[in-house]
């Protein structure tokens, strides 16, 4: 990932204010594979293999890719739930990687997470007021009556009633429980919320409500989102910019609408071609383009371009050389040799 630069060009995104909130540079996470009685390390799963990206203030960045491509590993590194093998994560001018735990605590407040299954991320034996109050107490933000007041405020912010605070998680529907998950993420007044498949387990009618809620909160509180999902239409709707990952590497980046309308990498094209879409007015029933095979194992990825085993445009070169992320015009970037000639620098 040599060609990707972290400096931002102003014309790339007019909606966001432009200053970088979080910048990840050459992030790497290798998980060792242990085998045998002595638990010797016999190999490495290269879950994330040199990934760089940035998130600006007030911006929603989408991260897409198939399962096993490293999306969730990126999320966990950003929230510092796991330590990167190498690389840096700059947030508010400080590098989070290798920061001592005591200092890290202040930053944890600023980066929060919303998970896929709201019920498994809420303690079933805790009242909502305690679940939502816990981060407030843990970070020393408030306690006692002021904690309860803040919980009521949070519940109303996400469209629930202050009276719900004494209920238990099982008394809520899936959509309401996810609202509570969002309220808990908001409790510490964060700058960045990482949404890891946050709407994927919700029913369609509820999914739209939660997406609208996330948008409204972004407008009101100036939040940034790292939005990880496999539903490309949802990602296109909610994101300003989108990064596409494949087997631990970034293969494409660009504005959300642009990437969906004109993908610049064969993998993105395959992903978009694979979405089933309820056809609109008078459209013919669309039979999807079928990409061959499945994602290869990240413990033994193909040589050269990771996608070459499934790519319809594969060339000899792709099997041996790793394509850099070529910078294209308008903030687009693609890690495909086919785009080499269009690279701007």
């Amino acid at each position: 990932m040599t060609a990707q630069t972290t400096h931002n060009t102003a014309e790339e995104r007019p909606a966001a204010s432009g200053d970088t909130l979080l910048a990840a540079d050459s992030l790497v996470k290798h998980f060792p594979i242990h085998k045998g009685f002595l638990r010797r390390t016999v190999g490495q799963v290269k879950a994330v293999d040199g990934v760089s990206f940035e998130i600006r203030r007030g911006e929603t960045v989408g991260l897409v890719g198939e399962s096993g491509c490293g999306k969730s590993t990126v999320a966990r590194m950003v929230t510092r739930l796991i330590e990167p093998t190498s690389g840096s994560i700059t947030f508010g001018g400080a590098d989070l990687v290798g920061m001592p735990r005591s200092e890290l605590k202040d930053f944890r407040r600023k980066i929060q997470m919303v998970f896929q299954d709201p019920f498994s991320s809420l303690n079933p034996r805790m009242r909502i007021v305690d679940s939502l109050g816990e981060p407030l107490v843990a970070h020393g933000l408030s306690k006692g009556q002021s904690k309860v007041d803040r919980v009521c405020e949070l519940l109303e912010l996400v469209g629930l009633s202050a009276k719900d605070r004494n209920k238990y998680p099982h008394q809520f529907s899936g959509g309401q429980a996810q609202r509570i998950g969002i309220a808990r993420a908001l409790a510490t007044d964060p700058d960045l919320i990482v949404c890891d498949e946050a709407v994927s387990s919700l029913d369609v009618s509820v999914q739209a409500q939660v997406l609208n809620l996330l948008r409204r909160l972004q407008g009101e509180l100036g939040l940034s989102y790292l939005f990880i999902a496999h539903d490309l239409n949802v990602v296109r709707y909610i994101s300003d910019r989108v990064y596409v990952m494949y087997l631990g590497r970034m293969v494409e980046r660009g504005a959300a609408e642009g990437i969906m309308a004109e993908p610049q990498h064969p993998y993105t094209e395959a992903l978009i071609g694979a979405i089933a879409t309820p056809s609109g007015e008078g459209e013919e029933r669309r039979i999807r383009a079928v990409a061959n095979g499945a994602v290869p194992s990240p413990s033994n990825p193909p040589s050269g371009c990771h996608f070459h085993t499934r790519c319809p445009f594969v060339m000899d070169r792709c099997r041996s050389e790793v394509p850099p992320l070529y910078e294209l015009s308008e903030g687009r970037a693609s890690a495909c040799f086919l785009r080499e000639k269009e690279a701007v620098s």
């Binding site: 198939e66 399962s67 529907s173 369609v204 009618s205 089933a276 879409t277 309820p278 994602v295």
Partner: protein, 342 residues
């Protein structure tokens, strides 16, 4: 749809009641629809709408409850009244089912080959050797590479897509006439989903079977189904040919369901049109139309008395008072007389 043919399966006014600690809960209330030979019928709805219960009722797999009313007719027999022993003859050989999560449906302690061979030998009197040969052919047919080798693999050694292919091979082992697929691709990645759906389409032609597809994904419905049955809170609220229902839904719930799904053409600057509220609990159903508290178009009539399923032209049905008169602004050309309340 050619309604003159006898349906393969006729679900007729089926009620399903579960007995729970807190009393009885009616999960299905008078569900009726037909599945014709070679047809793909999609059952769509949100969680708790009764779509999976319908699939399980047809398979006779309902646990802790059962069909408390109505009939499920296939070949002149009522499956809902059959004994477990009789049902065993139907399951697998006439009706087979594949599930959402193939990992939990395959036995982790047996090889894939063992499991397919077992399924074949349960229904056909063949030698082990012959069954193994058939199993290899089946696995090849569902697109498993190297079936001779793969037959010795355990489920955990296969990818999610391959496991789903093995499930399909198991289901096809006895050439069923109806394949029930309950969210068959929900746990899979999009590129793999596309492959599995393509496989199901190919196999449907080859085996001349019907498919009952249970899903919440409208994209999958658009791609696969001939007809679609929309469920809401244990009732059928709309059914019809898939192109008609997708283009011109006749129930406000179906309309709202489509509006809330982002598509490649959704305006990103506007909020999505969401349905307010949540699916009601089956214990606390609203009076009148079950969708009325969330419906944009609800009027006084909607809150009192059950809404019948109105029969509309072209074999469509809608459980909405607005469909009763086949409102002229919504109707294209069909005469008003064609409706008969069910």
């Amino acid at each position: 749809m050619d309604d003159t043919r006898d349906p393969l399966i006729a679900v007729d006014d089926v009620h399903v009641t579960f007995k729970t600690m807190a009393g009885e809960v009616e999960a299905l209330t008078g569900v009726s629809f037909d599945i014709h030979p070679n047809e793909t019928v999609a059952v769509v709805g949100e969680s708790g709408s009764g779509k999976s219960v319908t699939a399980l009722a047809i398979m006779g797999l309902l646990d802790g409850g059962g069909v408390s009313g109505g009939r499920i007719v296939s070949g002149g027999r009522n499956l809902a009244a059959m004994s477990e022993k009789q049902l065993r003859g139907v399951r697998g050989s006439e009706i087979a089912m594949i599930f959402q999560d193939p990992m939990t449906c395959l036995d982790p302690l047996y090889t894939v080959g063992n499991q397919v061979v077992e399924a074949i030998r349960l229904h056909h009197k063949v030698s082990k050797k012959e069954a193994t040969q058939q199993a290899i052919e089946l696995l090849a047919q569902v697109g498993i590479p190297d079936p001779e080798k793969r037959i010795r693999s355990y489920p955990h050694q296969l990818s999610g897509g391959q496991r789903q292919r093995v499930m399909i091979a198991l289901a096809l082992a006895c050439k069923p006439r109806l394949l029930i697929a309950d969210e068959p691709t929900t746990a899979l990645d999009v590129t793999v989903e596309a492959q599995i759906l393509q496989l199901l389409r190919d196999l449907q032609k080859e085996y001349e079977m019907s498919i009952l597809l249970v899903t919440h994904d409208m994209g999958v419905v658009a791609e696969m189904a001939d007809r679609v049955v929309v469920f809401y809170a244990g009732q059928v609220v709309e059914q019809g040919r898939v192109d008609q229902v997708l283009r011109d839904p006749r129930h406000p719930y179906t309309t709202a369901l489509f509006e809330g799904i982002p598509t490649p053409h959704t305006d990103r600057s506007e909020p999505l049109t969401a349905i307010p509220g949540a699916v009601p609990s089956l214990r606390e159903l609203p009076s009148g139309c079950r969708f009325n508290p969330r419906c944009r178009l609800a009027f006084d009539k909607c809150t009192s008395g059950a809404v019948p399923l109105f029969a509309l032209p072209d074999g469509r049905q809608s459980r909405c008072w607005l469909a009763e008169t086949d409102d002229a602004s919504r109707s294209v050309s069909e005469p008003l007389a064609a409706e008969v309340a069910q």
